[in-house]
């Protein structure tokens, strides 16, 4: 037998310098040693028979106070395996008799124990060694808070606000931030509250209430002071609540930083950005208006022209202007000005082409099969003009037995770092026809397609075996 029957196990338990409690599988406290009672500041009679989390209720201001489930799981695991486990440190704040919480961090070690001496191999309970690691976790924060704050630079003030007594101890810089001369006010906090910008006051009061409820919690307030002469200063307060070791009263200690210059700079930057956006919008408007004007001039010329051939030339020119305009619309729809999503863009170009070409009296469909590739704006403009020429060609020169034509625009990644554009129609054309069907008598269409392929640093392939297919392969 490991323990001499003459030794009282209870005495050993109480003599241990480490705080220990015994919990059953439902986290009810079965036993607690003297070290534990001393550390927590509660008598045994308050603890025994109660659920641990009923006694130590979670702090409603600590959003992470949810370790009950973790402890429950660990206890069940230890009872099942019979192997002790050390839990990772966690925060669980403890409520004083007067209702205030204090920030506390704990390290728990859970060991299996038996309570029925006739069945020493059946573990029914968990022995928890409870270590208060608050100081280690917070880096002795409470004791050092004052000196740390005082060591900050000279532009920063140090303050100590006594919540219950309504007093404010501070360095002279804080008076200056509120427009007070040195020694103009005493240590009453009220004059300072009276110079807080009225809109900011509710948030400040809420924050003070919150921080005072939980001693050791962080204080964070951004607000403005409003001086009698109308001066506004932007202030940033940072600190924490502590309990004064001598007086036991709750203090908020911390620093205040005057960030007015930063705020003004921020406003200037915002204003510059607004101006730039306005300018951008204005330029965008001008460009769209100018494109409309060019298109209107061509329309008017076409309208006046009696020569059908000349009118077709002008209509083709208008279509080319629209191909460029579609790119412009796509550009300003997105945030990115340097590249264009080809799938969304070609969808728009398709609408242009359908509306402009459907009046030619041909029933045509355009099918898009386009991968979501981004292309630089310059290349996208060139590509769109090529698509415009090729699709227009198919509409104008393809012949269809049933009058139902389909043009497919197919764009996808090809080989390594290349992009392939295919414009395919299901029309028929004599095999000895010209290599590229032309949109204008001048052969401009041919030259444009060749020129655009060259501009894309690509090459053209053609295939007339089944309908009409033109392929341009270019580096992406």
């Amino acid at each position: 037998m490991a323990v001499d029957a003459l030794i009282d196990v209870g005495l050993l338990f109480d003599a241990a310098p480490i705080a220990q409690i015994v919990l059953d599988s439902d986290l009810h406290i079965v036993a607690a040693n003297l070290s534990y009672c001393a550390m927590i500041g509660r008598g045994r009679e308050e603890l025994i028979g109660k659920n641990a989390y009923e006694i130590f209720k979670a702090n409603p201001d600590d959003p992470d106070a949810d370790n009950e489930a973790a402890l429950q799981a660990t206890v069940l695991r230890v009872l099942g395996t019979g192997v002790a486990e050390e839990m990772t440190p966690h925060q669980h704040d403890i409520q004083d008799a007067d209702g205030h919480y204090t920030v506390r961090h704990w390290q728990l070690t859970v060991s299996p124990v038996f309570t029925d001496s006739t069945k020493p191999d059946v573990t029914t309970h968990a022995l928890i060694c409870v270590e208060d690691v608050t100081k280690a976790v917070l880096g002795l924060r409470i004791n050092e808070a004052k000196s740390r704050a005082a060591m900050r630079g000279t532009d920063i003030t140090y303050f100590e606000f006594d919540y219950a007594n309504h007093t404010l101890e501070r360095t002279p810089q804080l008076d200056a931030m509120f427009g007070f001369d040195h020694n103009e006010t005493g240590n009453d906090v009220q004059p300072f509250f009276e110079r807080i910008y009225p809109d900011d006051l509710p948030a400040i009061n809420d924050e003070i209430e919150r921080v005072v409820r939980t001693v050791g919690s962080n204080y964070q307030n951004d607000y403005r002071s409003l001086w009698p002469d109308g001066t506004v200063r932007w202030l940033m307060g940072r600190g924490e609540s502590i309990r004064d070791p001598q007086t036991q009263s709750i203090l908020i200690v911390g620093v205040v930083l005057d960030v007015t210059d930063f705020k003004l700079n921020e406003a200037r930057l915002q204003s510059a950005l607004d101006t730039q956006n306005l300018l951008m919008s204005e330029v965008n408007h001008r460009v769209k208006n100018s494109l409309q004007m060019v298109s209107s001039i061509l329309n008017l010329e076409a309208q006046q022209t009696k020569d059908a051939v000349a009118r077709d030339v002008l209509r083709a020119a208008t279509a080319r202007v629209h191909a460029v305009a579609a790119i412009h619309a796509s550009l300003y729809d997105g945030e990115d000005l340097e590249s264009v999503r080809l799938d969304t863009y070609l969808e728009r170009l398709k609408e242009h082409l359908i509306t402009s070409l459907s009046s030619e009296g041909t029933q045509m469909r355009i099918i898009l099969d386009v991968e979501p590739i981004r292309l630089s704006t310059d290349k996208a403009v060139t590509l769109s003009l090529a698509v415009n020429e090729l699709v227009t060609n198919s509409f104008k020169h393809g012949t269809w037995a049933d009058g139902q034509g389909t043009v497919k625009v197919w764009l996808r990644r090809h080989d390594n770092n290349k992009i392939a554009l295919d414009v395919i129609d299901n029309g028929t054309q004599r095999a000895d026809g010209p290599l590229v069907r032309e949109t204008t008598p001048s052969g401009l269409g041919t030259r444009l397609i060749a020129g655009m392929a060259a501009q894309l640093n690509g090459k053209i392939e053609e295939d007339h075996t089944d309908g009409w297919r033109t392929r341009i392969i270019f580096p992406g």
Partner: protein, 137 residues
């Protein structure tokens, strides 16, 4: 400017009488030509908001085609609002910056359509045809 020439034949729906509010002369003439080509009548071309209202009082058009930024710094929205609320004349807004029309203005104007410049070929025709056929119905 726009003479009252109707090109519609008698068996078609009656021509609409349309006011063009646009301060760019090329665009205004182009719109006029497009409208006449559709068989409708252009009652006038206004280049400012005030002249748009004046011409509307005089000619009582069925529809106005309204640009936003007009000559003398006046706003197409103001003309379109007046036309809608005082004269019950609907508008089609045509502009390069449609986002300048606020939600409130839009609620008052109740535009038949808001078309972005540059106009697609036939875009205007589709909107006006739809309006003409719904009027006939």
């Amino acid at each position: 400017m726009g003479g009252e020439r109707a090109l519609s034949s008698p068996d078609k729906e009656p021509a609409l009488r349309i006011l063009v509010v646009e301060d760019n002369v090329f665009i205004a003439f182009d719109l006029e030509a497009q409208i006449q080509d559709m068989g409708h009548v252009v009652v006038g071309i206004a280049m400012t908001a005030s002249s748009a209202i004046e011409m509307s009082n005089q000619h009582r058009p069925d529809l106005a085609i309204v640009d936003l930024q007009l000559a003398d710094g006046s706003r197409g929205q103001d003309a379109a609002e007046h036309l809608r609320t005082e004269l019950e004349i609907p508008s089609i807004i045509v502009s390069g910056s449609l986002h300048h029309v606020t939600a409130d203005e839009r609620a008052i104007i109740q535009p038949i359509a808001m078309l972005s410049k540059p106009l697609l070929p036939n875009e205007l025709r589709q909107v006006i045809d739809k309006m003409a056929s719904s009027q006939r119905a």
